[in-house]
Symmetry: C2
Subunit: 315 residues, 2 copies
């Protein structure tokens, strides 16, 4: 987990990286989160009392109104966990919950590659695929904070099963996980490749190993990246047809492969989407890297606090 | 084409149905549209001068800011046609253009099945599939008025070619057109069925013939409707995961098949979408029938006029 103290101008004053004890269950994770928050507060020389608000970006289905994390792909055993209340009672400040990809989109909107945009879709391509919809200048959350699950948009109805229960989800075909699974399958089938030079063994081949082998010219690795790019492009085409966005901002670890992955993906999107919205959309790489989420969660908490204060004054 | 005079309370004062001379090109269509407008004005006993504004809902890619119909699936030869200007100069009143499915969504929002909703997705399932996104209580148009092309969201990346240039589009699998194409294919392959009793010949089998045969218990027709329902459900699942809407409003001719099509589609969406947003979404049938588009186009034109007037006062 990453905790940070953020100034009003978006400047990151201090940060703390800590291990998330996911396997130990919610209480242990919350204890670690409080500990990490105190560390970054200490580093910044601020007390919790001096904070305006606390924003938490969490992977998975998160509902700020109810203060719950419904489920989280990386936090086994979490089900409708009252994270908001748990952290509020420990730190004594209002806490606001936001999906991590939404948080990253808000960060990019205010201080990154989405600055000045009224309509952009943020796509994070890493182990899975997450999304954040910035529509009319604001993060769009749907009726329960759960909008933007772009990684679970089906692009091949008979495709591979996803652990969400669906099949053929975008993230099962175009993410780092998809790349690794397909690489392992082909290696097991005996395809000649140098990918194994970049991993301990066949079982531990990950997207990074494929990327390194591709950079060294390995044919299988290159074809695997082409395949991921194709599927990435199919989903981007859907986003263009559904949202007619000004911009699509792409972040996440897998996007660091860069042009080798992204250019053919944009080309596939161009073959798929209507000409007019494709001609006007711009593709941009996320600008804030790993900090987009903490910065966005802070902006989100700040805005929610303002809203509450304004409503209080009006009434 | 359907022209109507709409009162401020959404009441339809008069309507005129006329044939659209699509094959004769844009000028003939505009002439017919002016003629039809004059007929409905006469029937209502109003002059064009007494109108507040004119809204036109048109199928296809429509940009109100530019005043253009980029392309329209049912209007061959239309390319970036300046429809706004053409009708304004003929009728002497401000004209506003909106995609027909967006117009229907606006109609349902104000006077139909979307009343009182902040977040709903309108899906029209007829020959093709169109969509209208009502987000935060307003139609969402994207940066160029082209958002909501849900029928051209890919749900099977290797699926059938669509005339939009894409393949595996939702409307190639779940629309009336898809139903008819698949029926004709199976009949040609010699599948036993009574569908032909409801059509002149195999070539003219349409969704209506399949629907009638299904109502009479024909096994092939029933399986064709199950297939369309399955694909309809896949797309609805995507909509739930991407938008987390309060409601999905379904209109269009094919939806008149009713429960036989819709209930299995909703069930498939439930197998596909995340549990939380599926549990909170409500499915509703469109309430305004064929009038949703004209009513919505009128509301849209009214709102645009108000916006322009308000901006005028503020400045």
């Amino acid at each position: 987990m990453l905790s940070a103290v953020i100034a009003a101008d978006g400047r990151l004053v201090s940060r703390d990286y800590s291990v998330t004890p996911a396997a130990s269950g919610p209480d242990a994770v919350v204890a670690a989160l409080i500990q990490s928050s105190r560390s970054t507060l200490d580093a910044a020389g601020v007390t919790a009392g001096e904070l305006r608000a606390i924003g938490i970006g969490a992977a998975g289905l998160v509902n700020d109104t109810l203060g719950l994390v419904h489920t989280s792909p990386n936090l086994p055993g979490w089900r409708d966990y009252p994270l908001k209340q748990a952290v509020e009672s420990a730190l004594g400040k209002p806490v606001f919950l936001i999906n991590d990809a939404h948080a990253a989109a808000v960060g990019e909107l205010h201080f990154g590659a989405g600055k000045g945009c009224r309509h952009f879709v943020y796509v994070t391509v890493s182990t899975g695929i997450g999304g954040g919809l910035v529509l009319n200048g604001r993060i769009y959350e749907g009726c329960g904070g759960l909008a933007g699950e772009l990684g679970h948009m089906v692009i091949d109805d008979q495709g591979p099963m996803c652990k969400c229960g669906n099949r053929g989800c975008w993230e099962m075909l175009a993410s780092g996980k998809a790349l690794a699974v397909e690489a392992r399958r082909l290696i097991q089938e005996g395809e000649p490749t140098s990918i194994l030079h970049y991993a301990v063994d066949a079982e531990s081949v990950d997207a990074r190993a494929v990327e390194q082998a591709a950079a060294a010219g390995d044919a299988l690795a290159l074809s695997l990246i082409s395949r991921a790019a194709y599927y990435l492009g199919v989903g981007l085409g859907n986003i263009i047809n559904v949202f007619n966005p000004e911009r699509i901002v792409i972040g996440g670890g897998l996007s660091n492969i860069g042009d080798r992955l992204l250019l053919p993906a944009y080309a596939e999107a161009g073959r798929r989407a209507f000409k007019q919205p494709f001609d006007t959309v711009k593709f941009a790489r996320a600008a804030l890297g790993r900090d987009s989420g903490v910065i966005g969660a802070a902006v989100f908490a700040h805005q929610k606090t303002e809203q509450i204060n304004n409503n209080g004054q009006v009434k």
